[in-house]
Structure formats: structure tokens, C-alpha cells
Symmetry: C2
Subunit: 148 residues, 2 copies
């Protein structure tokens, strides 16, 4: 398929930045705080790498990092992290409707979520809501999947 001559999409945060923000918000929501050691453990990355990224996110105004006090998301960082978390949840809900296994869903959502632009997120959200109101159609879809 030839690429369209001009692709104009807003510059987006990288997959790595998105994974960090997602995990930091999750840690804050579950433990009350996010320390470098917790982020490193959760993302299976060295503490040195986490420190580098955390300093970059601080420089970008997404969080405030104080070496001995841990870190806190700024208003901008928290808004971004909430959007990322919401997109993850929406894609998960959508794939769950199709009857896929939880581990397949988690794997695919973790990969694809960084590549789905806001208009597509909104479209899948609208589709998910309509599908939830049409269980008979979902039964047919799941039947087609099982038969193949």
C-alpha cells in the first residue's frame, strides 16, 4: 500500500514515556507513591535507566523528582497518564467483548496502545458502546471466531 503523500498528526509522546507515565500513575494509585526502585521493579529496568528517564520527564514538566523524596506527577503529567490509562482500559474492554483471552489482550494492548491516535481511540470507544448494546451481534462474532 503506498503511503499517503502527507501524514499530518500531532507529535506524540514515545512508547517508553507512555509506559513510564502509565506505571507511575498506577503505583501512585495503588501504593500512594512511586519510587525509582518501584518503577524499576515494575518495568523490569535498571534503577539507573529509570533515574535517567525520570530526570527527562522532570525536564519535560511531566513530574517533579526529588532524589530522597520520590516523585510526583505534575498536572500535565497526571493528565497525560490518565489519558494513557484510559486508552489502555478502553482497548482492553473492546478486545474483551470479542472473547479473547486475558493474556492475549494484555500483550496486544501493551503493544498497540502507543500507536493508536485520538480519532481512532474515539471511534473504538463509540464502537465498543454500540457493541455492548447489541449482544446478539457479539454472540455471532464469537461463534464465527470459534468456528475457525
Amino acid at each position: 500500500m503506498p503511503a499517503p503523500t502527507s501524514i499530518r498528526l500531532p507529535a506524540r509522546s514515545s512508547a517508553a514515556v507512555e509506559d513510564y507515565l502509565e506505571r507511575i500513575l498506577e503505583l501512585i494509585n495503588t501504593k500512594g507513591y512511586a519510587r525509582v526502585v518501584d518503577i524499576a521493579q515494575s518495568l523490569k529496568i535498571s534503577q539507573a535507566s529509570v533515574t535517567n528517564m525520570v530526570q527527562r520527564l522532570d525536564a519535560e514538566g511531566l513530574l517533579k523528582y526529588e532524589k530522597y523524596r520520590g516523585l510526583a506527577l505534575t498536572t500535565a503529567g497526571e493528565a497525560l497518564a490518565r489519558n494513557i490509562t484510559r486508552r489502555h482500559q478502553l482497548l482492553t474492554d473492546f478486545l474483551k467483548l470479542l472473547g479473547l483471552d486475558d493474556d492475549v489482550i494484555y500483550h496486544d494492548v501493551e503493544g498497540m496502545e502507543h500507536h493508536i491516535s485520538p480519532p481512532t481511540v474515539r471511534a473504538i470507544e463509540a464502537l465498543t458502546e454500540q457493541l455492548q448494546r447489541h449482544p446478539a451481534l457479539l454472540v455471532k462474532v464469537r461463534k464465527d471466531i470459534d468456528e475457525n
Copy 2:
């Protein structure tokens, strides 16, 4: 959806390998041949990088590369390239149903296609077929999208 059309990609084909095979098949289908210079131009990558990857794909048995004669996909390479192309087309068809713009679709499909496992591809394929039979539901989805 008949079983032989199911898309099965080996777990180890990387996004880069998939992009190369997809582009090589496209060049062969449109120009009749795929030279390193054409692939480099098409993927916006240096000829040296393309030569490296082409040699790797040759070593993996996915294509035959002869420096002054260009390259040809092996049976395995062509089967893989066709699966990648078909997955791209399926995801494009699915997002087109939701009324998204072509450039948004192209951007998102190019990113997400490498992260979607065979069970999810089959589920989206079954969903796409059912949605095509339920145009009234799609009208509602597009209306919901426009209203948000």
C-alpha cells in the same frame, strides 16, 4: 472466514522484518522487482542499512539476494509477506468501517499491525464481517463519533 486464510505470523518476526517484507512484496507487485535502492527510497532508510537487513533476511531463508540481480522472495518469505499484507488490509478495512480518515488509518495501522497477535486478528476479522452485515449499527457508531 475459511481456515486457510487465517493469518499466522511467527512470534519472532520483528516490526522491522515485517515492514521490509511488506514493502518488498509491494515493490515486486507494482514494479515487477525490488532493488535495494527502491527499498531504501520506499522505507526512507540508507542503502547500507537495507543491504544489512536484506542479507539477514537471506540468511533466514526469507529471500534470495544477488548483488547485481536484485532480490526475490522465497516461498516462505512470500507466504509471510502475504500474511503481513493481508493483516494490514484487514486492519485498514476495519478502521475504514468506523469512518476514520485515510491518513489516520494508514498511520495507526502501520504502528499497531506489528503488535496484534493471530487470535486478535481473527477476532477483528470476524467482527469486521459482522459489522459489514449490520450497516445500521455502523451508522450509529459514526453518529456517536461525530457528536463527540
